[in-house]
Amino acid sequence: MFWSTLLMALQEIRRNALRSFLTMLGMVIGVGAVITLVSVGQGTTAQVTADIAKMGKNLVMVFPGSGHRRSGTAASAPPFRNEDSVALAAVQGVEAIAPLAAGNLLVVYGNKNESTQVMGTTTAYLGIREYAVEQGRMFSVSEEHAGRPVCVIGATTREDLFGSQDPIGESIRIQRLSCQVIGVLASKGQSAGGQDQDKVVLMPLLTFQRRVAGTPDVSSFFVTAADEIDTSRVISGIASVLRERRRIASGATDDFTVRDTAEIAQAVTAATSSMTALLGAIAAVSLIVGGIGIMNIMLVSVTERTREIGIRIAIGALGREVMLQFLVESVVLSVLGGLIGVLFGVLGAYGVSRGLSMPFVVSPETILLAFVVSALIGVVFGYLPARKAARLEPIEALRHE
């Protein structure tokens, strides 16, 4: 009985091919829009998460000032000192630590100059941020201790200043410092914040402090937390050492910030997920419109086919059999529309991800959900017309012209 009802529904849909197609269009657009938008949202989340992961594994950052490092309080809080680095290295769970003194400065080579993030740090920085040296070498520990004027440049800086020329052995000028290029970093791409991580110049911390900044300040620490220890314990360990060293009275708030990438990732993921949900919800409205379209056409169909329904009932069809026939018809319409919509949605998501060079993410859950929702829409919006058909009185229906 179910198969013959399904067959009947398919026949009916084929008989009114154009009308059925137009009816399905609402579902096609609705499901397609939901899938495309949700996929784009999920792609964005995936990309941002990947970008954050690229910053470094188990990365913990320490900045002066409470709250975000770019907020105004950073200026008033005292900077760190080189000795803090030694104390923090002893905190349990700190696997590696790199102090950082940095500034956005003009870097000059020949007649070219570029505003670049110039960082004084230690050799540990490379491993912590997962930079690789592509050409030449990193400065050595002895160069670091001696404060030699040597530097390693990022891929973008190399491109901007040297073009196709070999930069190794050349000297670049940063303010009054003339600095020899000894290495080039492999490209890392954009950071989660959209910054070019390849537009950098690295030099020994001492070199930067003495010959560029002119102060012994350290602006931040980058720490790799050990795998086997809970990162939140490492964070609180760092905080308690710093509170002691900076003489913060108990009860007073920290004048520094310690945060890890997981925390940042969480915040960003929460933001992009709610954006995904919003996009999905907007698209879902068109699904409801699609459902109303189906209900409309099914009501017309029931009226048009009153006589047919009368004949079926007169011949012995039960109310629920007539009801099933019309419900199956509307479900087949909506599911067919939904399937076509899934197809277009996936294509759309692929197109967008290509266009914006984002990861292409289509979760099977989304597709399954779209499928279930379109079937549900068929049932919900087909119910009223189907009940109307099932309740027809045979004699009156037969008399209908």
Binding site: R307, E308, G310, I311, I313, A314, I315, G316, E321, L398
Partner: protein, 240 residues
Amino acid sequence: MAAPSATGQVPLIQLAGLTKHYGKGESLVRALDGIDLIVQDGEFVAVMGASGSGKSTCMNLLGFLDAPTGGRQFFRGVDVSTLDGDQRALLRRNFIGFVFQGFNLLARSTARENVELPLVYRRMAASERRHLSARALQRVGLSDRGHHLPSELSGGQQQRVAIARALVTTPSLLLADEPTGNLDSRTSAEIMDLLVHLNRDEGITIVMVTHEPDMARYARRVVEFRDGRIVSDHPGEGAH
């Protein structure tokens, strides 16, 4: 249980004081105003009467298409006066073949599909449906028209498809409400010959409405309606 007839046989149909009213108050119509009727298995009854005398109303009740207002209706001795819609649908499905004046075929289905329709609702397998529908079409002489749509058939052929659809389930009772009403006299005669054959040679009980005395001649019993009552009940010429 209805009282057995004089012969001790439970009648196929027994109506006792059956009434059917339409409307209310001022506009009340007593379409059937107390009908008593017994029909035994194997009879061929013609129902006659002026237009509006209640013939169709009575047929609709006999075919379980409608429920009576009052009185009692028995089918094979079972009281069927107060059944709900689905119960009546089951009776129609299992015991009744109905031939309508206007054919009432599904316009977009072929003759064979139309004939198979009652079998679909009996949940019969496709192969069996095909076999039975082919036989029913053969009985009405339309073996070669199974794949035609109703619109591709003449009026007489359409009515024969409708008869095949009524027969395909081998019903206990074949009801026909003015089956020749829309047909010319030659085609009408063909249809009547077919009904007589089904009644005489296959033992199918038939109740047929007609307002044409020519057609009533084929029946073995003629019942006449006037103003919702039976005014005469006598053997017809078909009895000879």
